[in-house]
């Protein structure tokens, strides 16, 4: 953080880069198409989105193909480019299907709650995706399309790849199974069968031609039946072999290679469910310390646990929470304190949390209070009643940090998202709209009256100066909310989801 004391860093000028799945005017959004998860891989060369229809869509970066580099370098992922990242659609696959739990009479939605990328190997991509109950491990790989050009068998004797009649095997009067031999014909090929010393020259190996390749996604493992409640987070460990999954009350630890057992490491379920006051809302592993893990709660606290201390981590090693201001307590205090997302910065020193009204940046070495607090939509405070009525107050906005941990971003209503500078002294606080013109400043043109604020963004000073934000906040559209967004790991580029559209910006 050398820039921290280097004086003012100028705010980023955000520019539109790309949009995927743009809606045409008047087009109705299909529920299943709404994006529910976004994640860049570690190198930033790939981007994955998940949607409510259980699909995962992969995008790949196109602007640095010529900059191939050696793969060992890519594994380490550290290089910079001058151009801004550009992506193209790579492939998509159906990750989850709707299911029905017959024992509990519960429908299990196919909606993808989270996607996490795993270690790349041999050019194949690996990722974890989860819905409410089941985590799946996917491998996406180019496969050659094989065509058998030549075979030993006469085509007349073989239909397709199978054998119709086998006059050689007299012991079995029954017709053979569709594809090949019955067991008996195999046993006739016993190992002590004698072959001429030079082999049989008339036998030939099949010749395979393969010119084309296509991308194939294969589900390698399914980690199921370990969560009684809905999974809200999954997170990989830096050891490359384990990951966690968190639901409302428990966090489980898995080995990527073992899908039939997991270890419960955090359990906040009280013996009597009536005593329940707090649930887990999000959990993430530290990016480099394999034994450190953070989870947030509905009461606005973040707990850091040390997996080394014990097998069941009932005791946290650190607790981060901000004491509520005296006298400010209201019916909504606890609801808006609930943390919807936490993210570690790349180096693992800073931890970002999002609650309904704010973004908070914490230094994990300082548990007395957040390093900075950013007001995201303070102007909504007078409207909490309405927001409660229409359930918007329970919306779960995600947050993200830039690769250098100098800036943070999170979403808001009306398809807006906000970017804040978090170096000390920075006043950067930008509001952008997920549209092709994100930086459209508010121009007081009476000629565009009706669409008013819902499509207009402006730069807002930090601290949520309410007058500059909104005099008639009513016009904010609570149905278009930007919940999911991700910051490119190495560059100033943000991907965000507005309903079914994926918008990308760079600076």
């Amino acid at each position: 953080m050398s820039e921290m004391n280097g004086g003012e860093v100028s705010p980023l000028e955000w520019k539109f880069s790309q949009v995927f799945g743009e809606r045409t005017a008047g087009e109705e959004v299909q529920e299943v198409d709404i994006i529910s998860a976004i994640e860049f891989d570690k190198s930033g060369d790939h981007l994955a989105t998940g949607d409510r229809g259980g699909r995962v869509v992969l995008f790949e970066r196109t602007d640095n193909k010529e900059h191939g580099g050696n793969r060992r370098e890519l594994e380490k992922t550290d290089y910079a480019l001058n151009r801004h990242p550009e992506f193209r659609y790579k492939t998509e696959f159906q990750s989850h299907e709707p299911e029905f739990d017959y024992l509990k009479s519960l429908e299990i939605e196919e909606k993808i709650n989270k996607i996490r990328w795993c270690q790349t190997a041999n050019g194949a991509l690996f990722l974890l995706s989860t819905n409410d109950k089941t985590i799946k491990y996917w491998k996406v790989q180019e496969k050659k399309i094989k065509k058998v050009a030549e075979m030993s068998m006469e085509p007349s004797k073989a239909t397709g790849n199978g054998i119709v009649a086998t006059p050689s095997v007299t012991s079995t009067p029954k017709p053979h199974l569709t594809n090949g031999f019955t067991d008996k014909s195999y046993t006739s090929l016993s190992n002590d069968l004698l072959f001429p010393p030079g082999g049989i020259p008339s036998l030939r190996l099949p010749v395979v031609t393969s010119n084309e390749t296509n991308l194939v996604a294969r589900c390698r493992r399914v980690y199921a039946h370990a969560h009684d409640y809905h999974i809200n987070s999954i997170s990989n460990n830096s050891d490359g072999e384990t990951f966690i999954s968190a639901d409302d009350l428990r966090i489980n630890l898995w080995n990527l290679e073992i899908s039939n057992q997991s270890f419960n490491i955090v359990d906040v379920k009280p013996t009597n469910m009536e005593d329940l006051t707090e649930v887990i809302t999000s959990a993430e592993f530290h990016p480099t310390h394999c034994h450190t893990l953070a989870y947030s709660s509905s009461k606005g606290s973040i707990r850091l646990i040390d997996l080394r201390q014990s097998a069941l981590c009932d005791k946290h090693s650190k607790l981060f929470e901000e004491p509520e201001a005296p006298g400010s307590r209201s019916f909504f205090t606890e609801i808006i304190a609930s943390i919807s997302d936490i993210k570690f910065g790349r180096e693992g020193r800073y931890l970002l949390s999002r609650d309904y009204m704010t973004l908070k940046l914490w230094d994990i070495n300082m548990d007395s209070g957040p390093v900075s607090t950013f007001q995201v939509h303070e102007y909504l405070r007078p409207k909490l009643c309405d927001l409660y009525e229409n359930d918007s107050i329970f919306d779960k906005f995600e947050c993200c940090l830039s690769g250098d941990s100098q800036r943070v971003a999170t979403g808001s209503y009306s398809n807006l998202f906000r970017v804040f500078g978090c170096q000390s002294g920075s006043t950067e606080a930008t509001t952008l709209e997920a549209s092709k013109n994100p930086m459209r400043r508010q121009v007081q043109t009476p000629s565009r009256p009706s669409r008013s604020l819902s499509s207009i963004t402006r730069a807002v000073r930090r601290g949520g100066d309410s007058t500059s934000v909104d005099a008639n906040g009513n016009s904010f559209d609570f149905t278009t909310k930007l919940l999911h967004l991700a910051w490119h790991p190495t560059e100033n580029s943000i991907a965000c989801a507005a309903a079914n559209s994926l918008y990308m910006y760079y600076a």
């Binding site: 050659k144 790849n161 086998t166």
Partner: protein, 586 residues
């Protein structure tokens, strides 16, 4: 092409199916790879089949796994050891795939082939392969490389040896934790092939780095390395270099590392030797027995006996016994359970006096533990106690424990205790058994759970074996036969089951005079299930009883059953009749 030679036909199909769309058929073909190779002959196997397989590397993992396994035993099919090197390329490719089990199998096969290869071939082909994998672009290749050094190293010339050592040390510092874990896992194997001088320098340096790795998962693998290296080093070097590491590990911040120490304790003690164990590792072990983490205590408690055996009775009484006392009332039932399964082994170490004075009370308290597994574990080791202190001191506490377990509401617990009954019987002797346990054994025959009734019938057989037919005639057979009039057909079925098990033990005479009449009588039961079980039992009695009895009693009964209105009864009766026919012809 012509397929005039009929026997070739199946092989041609087998070969074609290497490329079938159905994975099951491809798997079948790969499993018969040796047949294909023999059909092609050695030369074409080398020149065509092996290159063909090398290209066939993006198949499904199941197929790749089978291929990796087959290639490991393929030397004879390519023309013997002198051609072994042609097998390396396909296995090298398999060493780089993403699926761990395929890589592991490929490494295993490479090691198998390498260990048969000529020295010059190893240098020309195997060593370069190891280096290629170690410098592989993706971590998967580097992970595999670590498991091959111990094959490549011994035959390499000096300069290459030095290079291999340095490559290995780089792998131990790889960016990817997966590679470091593999390097840590294979360090012992590699070190075992190395000259003593390099052991102390190169390997110890590598080892020290691994013991300080940031990743817990790497450090805990280094624990096993302690045992492996300790056995290779001179005793004084082990004490100087390995012992301090073990002591440090036993106080590691991560419970998983401490758990590994507890788990590997015996091997570690073996590596450092008895005297250093007594002086240095006793305090470390005591700490592990009192660890905060239950998992560590479980692992440590399970080693109480093995560790005590290394010590003398004085040290064990002074240091270990107090901990054992604490553990016997540990808050974790799993700790108590682990302790219960080994505690009796301490008796011979402590000697009779200390056992009766100090171990017996612990033992008795575990026998009254609220958790059934703890009690079961104690009972399962009863023979060990008996050897040291005799059963008399125990019998008073033992019986209530057994009775309680016998009536436990969890059927698995009841099942477990039934399985220990023959052991108890042999330890307690006939006298004790008769008055206390006989009734229990009969009661289980009428349990609500089938598995228990089945186990109970089996138990009777084992008791009859233990105490002999005469005893069984008095204490088992009459009671069992009484139950044959039970109104519940499932219980009558249990009786049949018991009879079929007891008959071979009781012998021909008793079977004819006592058991057979009952069975024949039951053949008139109104429930078809009983009747066809009668047929089955009768069939099982055929070899036991005399020919004349078969003809006079069993056959008429079966003939009658074979005309039963129920199809199943007829079926089993006919089966049994057929069995009579067969026994006649033999």
């Amino acid at each position: 092409m012509s397929m005039g030679d009929e026997p070739l036909y199946p092989i041609a199909v087998l070969i074609d199916e290497l490329k079938n769309d159905d994975i099951q058929l491809r798997l079948n073909s790969i499993r018969r790879l040796s047949t294909i190779a023999r059909a092609l002959g050695e030369e074409r196997t080398r020149k065509e089949l092996i290159p063909f397989l090398s290209e066939n590397n993006d198949d499904d993992d199941e197929v790749l796994l089978a291929m990796a396994e087959e290639l490991g035993v393929f030397i004879t099919y390519v023309g013997g050891v002198e051609y072994a090197s042609v097998l390396l390329p396909p296995l090298e490719t398999l060493c780089t795939v993403e699926e761990t089990c395929v890589r592991e199998k490929a490494v295993e096969s490479l090691c198998r082939i390498g260990s048969q290869m000529k020295e010059s071939d190893l240098v020309d082909f195997f060593v370069p392969l190891v280096k290629r994998l170690a410098g592989g672009e993706w971590f998967t290749a580097r992970v595999s490389a670590c498991g091959l050094f111990h094959i490549a190293y011994p035959s390499a010339p000096e300069a290459v040896k030095a290079e291999l050592r340095s490559v290995y040390s780089q792998l131990c510092q790889d960016d990817m934790p997966m590679v470091r874990r593999s390097a840590a896992t294979n360090l012992g194997k590699f070190a075992a092939t190395m000259e003593a001088s390099h052991l102390k320098t190169d390997i110890m340096q590598i080892f020290e780095d691994l013991t300080q790795d940031d990743q817990d998962s790497v450090r805990l693998l280094a624990v096993e390395g302690c045992a492996a290296l300790g056995k290779l080093l001179q005793p004084q070097d082990t004490v100087a270099h390995i012992l301090p590491v073990i002591v440090n590990f036993s106080q590691d911040k991560s419970w998983r590392v401490r758990y590994m120490v507890a788990n590997q304790l015996y091997e570690l003690c073996e590596a450092v030797g008895a005297e250093p164990t007594k002086s240095e590792l006793v305090p470390a072990y005591v700490r592990l027995l009192r660890d905060n983490e239950a998992e560590v205590r479980i692992a440590a408690a399970g080693k109480v006996t093995k560790f005590s055996r290394i010590l003398n009775s004085e040290l064990a009484i002074q240091h270990i016994l107090p901990c054992v006392k604490e553990l016997s009332s540990d808050s974790s039932q799993h700790v108590r359970s682990a302790l219960a399964s080994v505690i009796m082994g301490m008796a011979p170490v402590l000697g009779k006096e200390a056992t009766i004075e100090q171990l017996l009370p612990i033992f008795l308290s575990l026998l009254k533990d609220e958790f059934p597994d703890v009690r079961l574990n104690i009972i399962s080791k009863l023979d060990q106690v008996n050897q040291v202190i005799g059963i008399d001191l125990l019998s008073q506490s033992l019986l209530p424990a057994i009775v309680e377990l016998a009536e436990d509401r969890h059927w698995r617990v009841r099942l477990a205790i039934i399985e220990y009954i023959p052991l108890l019987a042999s330890q307690l002797g006939v006298g004790f058994f008769d008055e206390k346990l006989g009734a229990l054994c009969m009661k289980w025959l009428q349990d609500k759970v089938y598995s228990i009734r089945d186990a109970a019938a089996n138990n009777l057989k084992r008791l009859a074996e233990e105490f002999g037919p005469d005893w069984a005639m008095q204490h088992i057979v009459p009671q069992v036969l009484d139950m044959v009039n039970n109104p519940h057909y499932l219980h009558r079925m249990t009786v049949l089951r018991a009879i079929s098990l007891l008959a071979p033990v009781m012998g021909s005479e008793i079977t004819c005079s006592k058991l057979l009449p009952v069975v024949v009588n039951v053949a008139k039961d109104r429930v078809p299930n009983i009747k066809f079980n009668v047929a089955k039992v009768l069939q099982s009695l055929i070899p036991i009883v005399d020919h004349t009895v078969v003809e006079s009693t069993i056959r008429p009964c079966l003939v009658e059953l074979s005309e039963d209105p129920d199809v199943d009864v007829r079926y089993f009766a006919n089966q049994a009749l057929q069995a009579i026919g067969n026994s006649m012809t033999n």
